[in-house]
């Protein structure tokens, strides 16, 4: 159906794509994988008409096509669902589905009734129970994804590009999206699926293509492939999957929460010792992010008590948390983690700027500390003076981490630390977390990936509807048990 042949693309002098061939068959779910910066997005932007290739051909159903604008690609039946969803939050579901292609009635006004009717019919055909009149801003991430897919279908897309559709979804929501993808496949729609989650690729895809440093290193059927194999092709060397042990007795208690209540969570208890890695997992909207936002003072704690090293504390702002030695690496790096206009150095030293300043900031001290941090975290960059947006996702995350490492916190909270991060950077981040714990820092990890819980955490709390559904020690954890607790499949322990 789709053939991209001999695609070349360079930005200035950096060759991003070199002689890339990429083919997708009708009704096929084709995985496009590779580390951050391997050229996946560039290739898809060329296909979506966002970028022009320097040389190469695109054949669609045997016809030579050339997309100069995104609209050309859309008209040819190619829909691009970006990682950052392109929905307008202040409009309803049906308005978003029809945006730019609104139906008009005879009088020339928008034909609401017809649009609602068709949206409802489409959503029903997709097997989704969703009222087209719902405001998009009230929807969960998975439903937003579904609205995007519905929009693609409404314009009769034959090929849908999905760029990391599952990163912000929970396991249950992923199942919803997957079953929809299977339905589409049966109807002859092809899907290009970009993801870092190898398990998902094995589960849903028919074929895969691996890009590394702008070249195709492998393109094959998913049948008989293993996750190790895919990971091997992505990074070019074998990847570890073993458990990461801190191998150290835990120290004294650092942080304890008793009956913590707030918006989205209630009556949560937890204890964190020095040198311990404690995880919180569950489905999206289970309250874990809200809970630790509140512990960090970014949201309001409505009830319960917090003890730092046994002493009751009140944390009403991140400023207070920082003073007490609590650090927080938030989720959604783009919205919460980075300053896109500023340099790598500025980003990496933001928390501790005061430390380098006697009236005027000593750039020697600032650079010195950041360079040490950069080496420790293996941040790949040509110069710290470049903007942070010039880095890949994994390296951006490391910079966000470095700003808190410089503050030498007693407690460090990570919310979704490996979101949108490639395999190599993920291992680097795990290494840092383990080495922090070895140094005696108490680490809290919030993640919906059960794998992450099992590999890293000494103890995992599973949240369900804002309550702690169960606590498991290292060794007791299994994906099945976690899922059972997270979906409310087991009675909440009294």
């Amino acid at each position: 159906m789709l053939k991209m042949l001999g695609i070349h693309k360079a930005f200035d002098e950096t060759k991003v794509l070199q002689d890339v061939d990429f083919c997708v068959n009708p009704g096929e779910i084709h995985a496009l994988i590779g580390e951050n910066g391997a050229g996946k997005s560039t290739l898809m932007n060329i296909l979506g008409g966002v970028l022009l290739c320097d040389s190469g051909k695109i054949l669609l159903n045997g016809k030579d096509v050339r997309f100069l604008r995104p609209k050309d690609a859309m008209d040819a039946g190619i829909a691009f669902i970006h990682q950052e969803l392109n929905l307008i939050n202040d409009l309803t579901v049906y308005e978003n589905i029809f945006i730019g292609r609104e139906l008009k009635n005879r009088a020339g006004f928008v034909d609401k009734k017809e649009m609602i009717r068709r949206s409802a019919a489409l959503l029903e055909r997709m097997g989704v129970s969703l009222d087209p009149n719902t405001m998009v801003k009230t929807l969960d991430a998975s439903y937003k994804q579904i609205v995007e897919i519905a929009r693609a279908l409404m314009m009769e897309a034959k090929l849908i590009i999905m760029d990391e559709p599952t990163t912000s979804l929970t396991d249950v929501e992923i199942k919803v999206v997957f079953s929809l993808m299977r339905t589409l496949k049966k109807q002859g729609v092809s899907i290009i699926f970009i993801s870092h989650k190898l398990g998902e690729i094995l589960e849903i895809c028919d074929a895969y293509t691996v890009l590394r440093d702008g070249r195709v290193v492998r393109s094959a059927s998913v049948e008989n492939a293993t996750a190790d194999e895919l990971a091997y092709h992505m990074v070019g060397h074998p990847v570890r999957t073993e458990q990461l042990q801190t191998g150290k007795k835990h120290g004294k208690e650092i942080l304890r929460g008793e009956k913590l209540c707030g918006r989205g969570f209630e009556n949560v208890d937890f204890v964190l010792h020095s040198g311990e890695i404690v995880g919180f997992t569950g489905l999206l909207g289970d309250g874990r992010s809200e809970l630790f936002s509140a512990v960090f003072g970014a949201e309001k704690l409505q009830g319960g008590k917090l003890y730092l090293e046994g002493i009751p504390v009140r944390i009403d702002s991140p400023i207070a948390a920082k003073k007490l030695g609590i650090g927080y690496v938030p989720r959604n790096r783009k919205e919460n983690g980075i300053l896109k206009d500023m340099s790598i150095l500025d980003n990496g030293t933001l928390v501790t700027l005061e430390k380098y300043s006697k009236g005027v900031i000593s750039s020697r001290l600032q650079r010195g500390e950041f360079d040490t941090m950069g080496k420790r975290l293996r941040i790949k960059m040509s110069s710290a003076a470049h903007k942070i947006t010039s880095l890949s996702g994994g390296n951006q995350q490391k910079v966000v981490l470095s700003k808190w490492l410089a503050a030498k916190p007693k407690v460090l909270i990570f919310d979704n630390p490996t979101q949108g991060v490639d395999v190599g950077a993920k291992e680097d981040i795990y290494d840092i977390i383990v080495s922090l714990a070895k140094e005696g820092v108490g680490v809290v990890i919030l993640s919906s990936e059960s794998q992450e819980m099992m590999r890293l955490c000494d103890r995992a709390h599973v949240m369900y509807h804002g309550k702690c559904a169960g606590v498991m020690q290292r060794g007791e954890m299994s994906e099945y048990e976690i899922m059972l607790l997270a979906t409310g499949g087991r009675e909440v322990k009294a």
Binding site: F11, D12, E13, S41, T42, N45, V50, L51, F296, A298, P318, I319, A321, K322, K323, Y328, P330, E335, N336, G337, I338, L339, K340, D341, M342, D346, L350, V351, L353, E354, S357, G359, V360, I361, S363, K403, A407
Partner: protein
């Protein structure tokens, strides 16, 4: 890479290149226009006469050029200083429309304080001369700080958009000033106060220019090399990230507006000292727009997070030189604003970044 591509890349990566080039071009044209005009006035019958080579007339030409430049810089020093402060406000993601009215409020209060006639408050208390000037200046700066702080507190604590807050205070500051000043017209200012601007250096009145340039240097260092300066950029770039990094966002915002208040107060006193009086209805009006225009031409993004003090300096100069050029060329004053507007839009068009991949 060929030369054209290199130039293009530099153009994209250095937002100030376009402004700098435009400024140089304007200055060249301006010098040429002045020279022609000068030659015409000197020897109207022989436009291209060799008389220019005559040492005397060459010296006169140079003198005229210098005087013209001094006037440009003098006349724009107040707006120039306010624009420097506005740079911080806009980098922090805000806007301050009240600067012009604030200038009037401070100017009025200082004049009421140090008036040497009986109506002067300090004079009536028996304080005159240097002490009166010192107290007047100190209170003037304090008032600027308080008014700026008022903006800052409503914006940060009240969570009201800066545009709305400062639109409101813009009206309030001027209106209240005019109300109080109805009966207090005409002030005589002590020489010591006038000397803030008028003290001659080398036979020229250049102090306001020196203040402006000095302030530019200080604020350049503050923006780039102090914790406060970096925090201003951080807050403007992404307030949420700044907050989650333990930065006191409210305090940073408040300080930005307070700093602006103090600088506006200073500009007000420099202006009053030079002119010796103030028209409460019109003084400072339009300064907010000129300051914002300078900041924008200087490459600072309205969305906050990026920009530079040096760029604003170039921006103010560009507007000033253009205005001067239009005057020299005899363009109708009503039309000059149109050119000003066009240059703002053109500057942003030139600096816009290539569509990101």
């Amino acid at each position: 890479m060929n030369f054209a591509a290199k130039m293009k890349k530099m153009w994209r990566s250095q937002p100030l290149l376009s402004v700098g080039l435009a400024l140089v071009l304007l200055i060249l044209v301006q010098t040429v226009v002045m020279t022609i005009e000068f030659t015409l006035s000197f020897a109207p019958e022989f436009v291209f006469d060799v008389k220019l080579k005559n040492f005397d007339s060459f010296g006169a030409w140079g003198q005229k050029l210098i005087t013209n430049w001094r006037n440009i810089l003098l006349n724009n020093s107040y707006v120039g200083m306010i624009a420097l402060a506005m740079t911080f406000v806009i980098i922090s993601g805000g806007i301050d429309l009240s600067v012009g009215s604030m200038l009037v409020a401070v100017g009025a209060m200082v004049m009421v304080l140090i008036n040497t006639k009986e109506a002067g408050i300090l004079t009536s208390l028996g304080i005159t001369g240097i002490p009166a000037v010192v107290i007047g200046v100190a209170l003037g700066l304090l008032l600027g700080y308080l008014l700026g702080n008022l903006n800052g507190i409503i914006i940060s604590k009240g969570r009201v958009p800066p545009f709305i807050v400062t639109l409101g205070t813009m009206m309030m500051f001027r209106s209240v000033t005019q109300y109080f000043m109805q009966t207090r017209k005409g002030a005589a200012l002590p020489t010591a106060f006038k000397n803030i601007s008028k003290l001659q250096i080398g036979g020229n009145m250049v102090l306001p220019i020196i203040y402006w340039l000095l302030l530019a240097v200080i604020l350049y260092v503050v923006a780039r090399h102090t914790v406060f300066g970096r925090h201003v950029y951080a807050v403007g770039s992404n307030e949420r990230t700044a907050k989650l990094s333990g930065i006191n966002v409210d305090r940073v915002k408040r300080r930005v507006y307070a700093l602006t208040g103090v600088i506006v107060a200073f500009a007000a006193m420099v202006q009053v000292a030079r002119i010796g009086s103030m028209d409460y209805a019109s003084a400072g009006s339009g300064y907010e727009m000129d300051a914002i225009a300078s900041v924008i031409i200087g490459g600072t993004a309205m969305s906050g997070g990026s920009g530079s003090v040096f760029g604003t300096l170039l921006g103010t100069l560009t507007l000033a030189v253009m205005n001067n050029l239009l005057t020299l060329m005899g363009v109708d004053p009503f039309l000059r604003e149109a050119f000003k507007g066009a240059i703002v839009v053109a500057a942003v068009l030139l600096q816009r970044k290539e569509k990101q991949a």
